[in-house]
Structure formats: C-alpha cells, structure tokens
C-alpha cells in the first residue's frame, strides 16, 4: 500500500515526535511503522474505524502498556526532542507524571471530590494544604466543574453525574500541570450537553497543555482539533491540519472514512 500523507508542512513546534513506532500485543502487530508529530499547544485528533489502534497508540504515550505482560514497543516517541518516552532507561512513572490521561469511561476513585483531584498531587508527596487547595480549585475551574461542586468538595465523587465525573477526571489529570494530556473518547459515554461543555473546555486548555484526543465523531474532530490523524488497520494513513484532512484528503481511505463509507 502506498501511503501518501504529506500534507502541507505543519509549522508549529513539535511537542512530541513519533518515529517508526511499532507495537505488539504478544504476537499481534497492532501498530505499524507510525511517524507523526504532535504540535505543541494544539489539539490533535486521532480518528479511524473501530479496532484500528487509536487507543493502542494513545496508550504508548504514557507507557500504559507496561502494566501488562507481553506488550512490546519498537521505535521511539521523542518528547521535547530530548527524551525518548519508549527508551529502556526512561521510567514510565516519570513519563506519566509529565503526560496524563483521561479515559473513555469516567473512573473517579471512590473518595471525596476533593481527594480525587488531590491525588494527582499526593502521588508526588505534596502535602501543603494551602497549595493543594489553590491547585485543586484552579483545576476544577479549568474543567468547568468548580461552580457545581465548590460547596460539596467532601462528598463522594460517585454522587456526581457521568459528565461531572468525567470533568472531575479531567481536573485530576490537569492538577499537576502535565505537558500533554491524552483523551480516549472522553465524551463517548456522555450526553450532548455534557459533551459540549467538555469540548468547550478543550479549546481553553490549549494554552496550558498539548492535547491528543481519540474520537469517533468526525464532527467532534472537525470542531475541536487543529490537526487530525487518520488511522486504519494499525497504520497512520494521513496526517495534517484538520481543515486539510477534512476538505481535501489525499488518500482514498481517508475520504471514504470521512464521508462515512467505511467504519
């Protein structure tokens, strides 16, 4: 298959560069020779049909695959040109402290709202109550949740609605000032209103972090992302500015997917 994914050169500074990334679940070759850059302070969307490897790709960035035996990476992901995330000597814990993640289903801890967000700081041994209060309020404000929960920070996170829980998870992922935040279909379990509020906060987040988001919704990708990558069967088929990928896709498969013929 000839892959032509050379859109107009992306000019922004790369926050991360993926070079010849291959990933294996045991003997299953899930990602095949991926090359891509993640432009700093922008939203990059990953789209593609179910099972094409979006989640797998996303979880390479914070070494989540290390948690399970039999998984293997090849190639590299350079962070700021100087740290290879996949490098043997790089501690996955260090990577996860710099790159945080929001999962497909909200997964708050069965603790209070406050403690949920606080945990992002507590892992680092932060104990200063004043500083934590400040950071937690800030994170909850950025996640557009503060006004809804400021009077019940000690209540269980499980009392929140699904959309609120997801925003809580976003606050938890943001509280320790990560450099990149990974989102795996963060709105797929939410209703349109909750989805809209999360999409809105995504665009404000850009100033603070670099975002990589998996989404099944083409409209969502078009609405919120600056760059879009289209994946198919473990390969990166096309990557470029969102308006280019959507308006003049270079590849037949991309065009088919975007127009709803595959997937």
């Amino acid at each position: 298959m000839v892959i032509n994914n050379s859109h107009e050169q992306i000019t922004s500074i790369p926050k991360a560069e993926v070079a010849d990334l291959d990933f294996y679940y045991g003997s299953f070759h899930a990602l095949k020779g991926i090359n891509m850059t993640l432009p700093e302070h922008s939203v990059t969307a990953l789209i593609g049909p179910s099972g094409c490897g979006k989640t797998t790709f996303l979880r390479c960035f914070n070494r989540m695959h290390d948690l399970y035996p039999g998984n293997r990476y090849e190639g590299s992901i350079w962070l700021d040109k100087d740290t290879n995330i996949l490098g043997r000597k790089v501690d996955p814990i260090e990577v996860r402290m710099r790159i945080s993640m929001v999962f497909q289903r909200p997964n708050p801890f069965p603790k209070s709202i406050y403690e949920n967000v606080a945990y992002g700081l507590r892992v680092r041994g932060e104990n200063n109550r004043r500083l934590m209060d400040e950071k937690i309020e800030d994170a909850l404000r950025v996640s557009a949740l503060w006004d809804e929960v400021k009077d019940r920070l000690n209540e269980s996170a499980y009392n929140l609605s699904g959309g609120q829980q997801q925003r809580l998870c976003i606050a938890r992922a943001l509280v320790a000032d990560p450099e990149i935040v990974l989102f795996d279909e963060p709105t797929s379990a939410l209703d349109p209103i909750a989805t809209a509020s999360i999409e809105e906060l995504m665009s404000t987040l850009k100033d603070r972090v670099t975002i990589l988001i998996v989404t099944h919704s083409m409209q969502q990708a078009a609405r919120i992302s600056d760059h879009t990558a289209f994946m198919y069967l473990g390969e990166l088929i096309e990557f470029g500015r969102t308006k280019d990928v959507f308006n003049k896709p270079l590849n037949q498969q991309t065009e088919d997917y975007i127009s709803g013929r595959i997937g």
């Binding site: 914070n62 989540m64 948690l67 035996p69 814990i93 260090e94 996860r96 402290m97 945080s100 993640m101 999962f103 289903r105 997964n107 708050p108 801890f109 069965p110 603790k111 209070s112 945990y119 992002g120 507590r122 892992v123 680092r124 209540e155 269980s156 996170a157 499980y158 009392n159 998870c169 938890r172 992922a173 320790a176």
Partner: protein, 307 residues
C-alpha cells in the same frame, strides 16, 4: 396485539412468576429452618449454662468442684492465642495475597501456588497440629506455649486469609488501577492508597472467618500439648517499667476455651456439663465480639471510602 397472543403471553408470564415465587418461598423456608435450629441449640446451651455465668466464673481457675470451677485460664489463654494468631496470620496472609495478585508474574508457578494454597484451606486441622508439633515445638524449640499455639492456628487460617485477600483485590475494577497509574503512582502507592482501602472490607471478612474458625479449634492445640488443667495465668503483657511491654507470656503453658469445654464435657458429673454449657455460651460471645470489632472497623473505614 391480537387477544389470543396477549392471553398466551400472560399465561407464560404467570408461569414464570410462579416459578420465581416458588424458589423465593423455598429459599426462605430453608433459611428459616437453619436459623431456628441454630438459635434453638444456642439458646438451649445458654439456658443450661445461665446459672453458672457469674462474675466468679470468669475470675476462677478450674477446680475439681464443679460449682467452684471457672474459665479464667481458658479465656485468657484463648485471647492471648488469638492475639498471636491474628498478629501472625493477618500481615503474612494479606502480604502474600497482595504479592501473588499484584507483583508475581502470572505463570505456571503462580498457578501451582494458587492451587496449593486453595487446597491447603481444606486440610484437616489435626494435620496442622502434627506439622506444628514437629516444626514449632521440637525444631524451633518454642515449647508447648502460647506462641506455638498461636502460630499453629495462624498457619491453619493463612490459606483462608490469602485466598480472600486475592479475591477481594481481584474484585477491584481495573479502571481504578489504571487511573492511579496514569497519575504517576508507583505500584506500592496504588496498592496502599487504593487497592488496600477499597478491598479492606472484604479482606476483613476473610480474616474474621479465619479467626472464628481458629477460636474453636481443639485438635491441633491438643496435639502441640496444651494443658487441660491449669491454675495460673501467664505473665501480664504489660508492665510498669520501660518498655511497658513484656513478651514472657508467649512462652507460658496455657489452655483455651474449647479444651476447657472438652475437659468438662468428658467428666461423668452432670454439674460439669452445666459448666461446659456456660463456657460454650461465653465462647460464642467471644466470636460475636470479634465480629463486632470487624463491623466497627469496617464502619470506621467507610467514612473515608465513598462508593
């Protein structure tokens, strides 16, 4: 919908509802029978022994005269032995469970260990007694002491604690583990901050089941040489001068409640049977006491965990 179809649907529905209520009735009956029998036996014993349950009964040593005999050495022995058992079995069992579930590689060795641990839970307790006699009493020279007895019972309930710990840990949704790791938590932080607190309640249940089994065990304790008649107490674990704790009691000879009961039941005089019934009632009370502690602990922890 045509009426015939609707009628058919309703007949079918009624039949399924009948089966459902039939089973509910059956279940309720069986539970009622079980509870009535259990309650009957307990109450019969309690009534039989009631006249002997006086303060003196708890503060007197055994005696040849039934009316003067008490359970002082027995309940103190049981408490101390259970203390040793809990101190040994809980940390060891919980740590093993955590290690096997969270750290150990999942391979044939892990499977082998799992099968063996599960099977160990079913080994007759007298076998543990023989093992302990050889290991603790003779090999390690711990003597026929409270320490030996506590360790023997700890060995006996260790499989239960390990198995319940593993199952409680396994029941925690993986998404919570991933949430913790994704924030940069180490394995130990994930275990300590999340896995243990969230599974504490179920682990505690396993520990209580184990301790409740241990408190009533006679065979392994007799095997390692508990005395049946003992008229003094072990040295107190507390003392007035620094460091305020003393461990001499660990080496003391001892007896425990079930052995005292067994001893009384095997006497020919009817008066001793009343003593046995009274001691049995106290033993049940002690078991309930352990459960009460568990409920209290679980309640305390609930305050922080908000499912």
């Amino acid at each position: 919908m045509p009426t015939t179809n609707l009628r058919k649907l309703r007949t079918n529905l009624n039949r399924r509802k009948l089966i459902n209520s039939g089973f509910a009735f059956l279940g309720a009956t069986i539970i009622a029978i079980a509870i009535i029998i259990l309650l009957g036996l307990t109450l019969k014993m309690a009534f039989q022994g009631a006249e002997r349950i006086t303060p003196e009964f708890f503060t007197s040593f055994p005696s040849r005269r039934a009316s003067r005999a008490g359970i002082l050495s027995a309940w103190v022995g049981t408490c101390l032995v259970m203390l040793v058992t809990a101190m040994a079995a809980i940390p060891l069992g919980v740590a093993s469970g955590i290690y096997l579930e969270e750290y150990a590689k999942k391979n044939w060795l892990a499977d082998l260990i799992e099968i063996n641990v599960t099977n160990l839970a079913g080994v007759p307790s007298i076998i543990y007694g023989l093992l302990a006699l050889g290991l603790f009493v003779y090999e390690l020279r711990l003597g026929q002491s409270i320490l030996s007895a506590g360790l023997t019972l700890a060995l006996l309930i260790l499989p239960v604690v390990i198995v319940t710990t593993r199952e409680s840990i396994r029941a925690i949704p993986n998404s919570l583990r991933e949430a913790s790791y994704a924030l940069g938590a180490s394995k130990w932080q994930t275990i300590w901050d999340h896995i243990l607190p969230y599974s504490f309640g179920s682990i505690l249940t396993g520990v209580i089941i184990g301790l409740s089994r241990a408190i009533g065990e006679t065979a392994p304790i007799i095997t390692i040489g508990a005395l049946t008649f003992i008229a003094f107490l072990p040295k107190s674990p507390f003392k007035s001068e620094f460091p305020f704790l003393s461990f001499e009691w660990l080496q003391a000879p001892f007896t425990v409640m079930p052995i005292q009961m067994f001893n009384w039941v095997s006497r020919p005089q009817a008066a001793f049977e009343i003593n046995a019934a009274a001691a049995g009632t106290v033993l049940i009370g002690m078991t309930l006491g352990i459960n009460a502690i568990a409920i209290f602990l679980r309640y305390q922890l609930r305050k922080d965990i908000k499912w």
